[in-house]
Symmetry: C2
Subunit: 330 residues, 2 copies
Amino acid sequence: MSLPHADDPAELAAAIAAGDRAAIAHVLNLLDDRRDEARKKTTALLAHLQQDQDNPTGQLIGITGPPGAGKSTLSAALIRVWRARGLRVAVLAVDPSSPISGGALLGDRLRMQTSTEDDGVFVRSLSSRGQFGGLSAEVWPMSVVMLAGFDIVLIETVGVGQREVDIARLCDTTCYVAQPGSGDSVQFIKAGVLEVPHILVVNKADMGNLATRTLSELEAALKRTHPDGHWQVPVLATSAVDGTGIETLADALEEHYQLLRGPQLALRRKRYQAYWIHKRLLEEFGSFGIDQLGGEESLLAQLQAQDMNLFKQYDALRLRLYNRIQDTLE
Amino acid sequence: MSLPHADDPAELAAAIAAGDRAAIAHVLNLLDDRRDEARKKTTALLAHLQQDQDNPTGQLIGITGPPGAGKSTLSAALIRVWRARGLRVAVLAVDPSSPISGGALLGDRLRMQTSTEDDGVFVRSLSSRGQFGGLSAEVWPMSVVMLAGFDIVLIETVGVGQREVDIARLCDTTCYVAQPGSGDSVQFIKAGVLEVPHILVVNKADMGNLATRTLSELEAALKRTHPDGHWQVPVLATSAVDGTGIETLADALEEHYQLLRGPQLALRRKRYQAYWIHKRLLEEFGSFGIDQLGGEESLLAQLQAQDMNLFKQYDALRLRLYNRIQDTLE
């Protein structure tokens, strides 16, 4: 271990909060490691990072949309605006796990477009995996770590459907990027396949008429009040090529964050954590296991009521299920 | 019960094999009913329908693609061709379950475009539900019933991603319908988000240049040999409006079926059944439960080796897991 603080969770937590890149990279790798040793370290670390759950920090933004909509380029343009505003940004690029695409498509694309010299930008790729076909199991713990060290954490994913639903349940603010002229996004919204995002973006506004038409179609298709309430969903035109609308988008994201800040944000973060734990337990023990814990609704309520650290909460429930089940096994 | 044969599984099976619409509708409703009484009836019925597993009948076709690609209109045009060829057709239209779209969008669309007088066409809607966000749990048992009474069973779904993967694992022949000009389908294929279908269709060929361009983009993006082997994936242009390519598409579907017929088809059907049972058990008992049964690979191999009826196989495994687990519970 080359990091002097790697074995002391308090020191490691402090290094992360100070934005130490090596420390963050180290912990993200630990979170990817499912062995007991690694899990012990990350449990202790998360306990430190989550000490003050009533005052959550950072903004967790989910950016999603079909492949080809220009999410990476748009993210890179947003990052430039945020950096100019003095904000530190971490990106978690979740790629579909696929034998064809293989590696870190989104992350690599983004890295190519951002300065590697800038200490205030951190990009991590993650391939989605697991039964749920959606987000990787590591997304939430990794977000907790990144939120401790950065002002903005951007989760970028390809896709519509389950993956996009999961993102909406783990982010403060969701932003859907539509492709001009495809009509798909409009259809997705009409069909209810797409959960209503907080901000809807038609990218490639430089495509002219096509973008304008898609913009007005989306405006017509969309119920403008977000299901969360108290938020009117803006439909924005952007172009990463000529810079159109990027500042406006950054403003809208900031405006949504200001709306959430305070007790509401603390409550939401607890909800994400409960959702993540529920999903992991469901993956491992099925609906049978969830029933053993009193059913989904009761489990979620119980998790949100407790002020406990992520892995401690998760491990406690896992142990409860194991104990119930394991004795009978030959 | 208004059906005279409804309580005798042998009579009911015979009525289904004779294409008795009332009998089929009755059984599909039973399959939707999860109470013990209904389950007993359907288990007995499926045992009759699955007596000769080495000689499977019918062709199970999955048709999928993004919303707006014109799947329903294309299906209706295909049905006309099949009817003219003397084939009886059943359709299972799987809609995304959504608070917004609500009901039976795909099924209703299709019904509007087919003759309600024709005894050789049967349309059933099903809303997708369950943890997996993909196909409804009833798709496979319902397919078994429909295959007994019809020459062709068409499963139509909206979507790309998990739902489309599931369809590929439960159908003899998969057909993906792309929308001209969106570029999305090309991106999906390149990104490996889309499993390679057996037949790729660019619909709305009447859109002219846009369709031609999409067609050549897809041809370029696609590895033409299907992962199944022995099958070159055709990329076809169709138009339900002017009838272009519909006969050719029907021919390609028939050609693929001829390739599969015989021992290979029997093997594949067993594989679908094993996949379905695995998925249901995973949903209920999680990865922990699957591990208790020896893990995914071993379970699938074991299921495929047995010559057993669907619900009997499923219920036996479910019981085994329950027995292992239940004793410890307070």
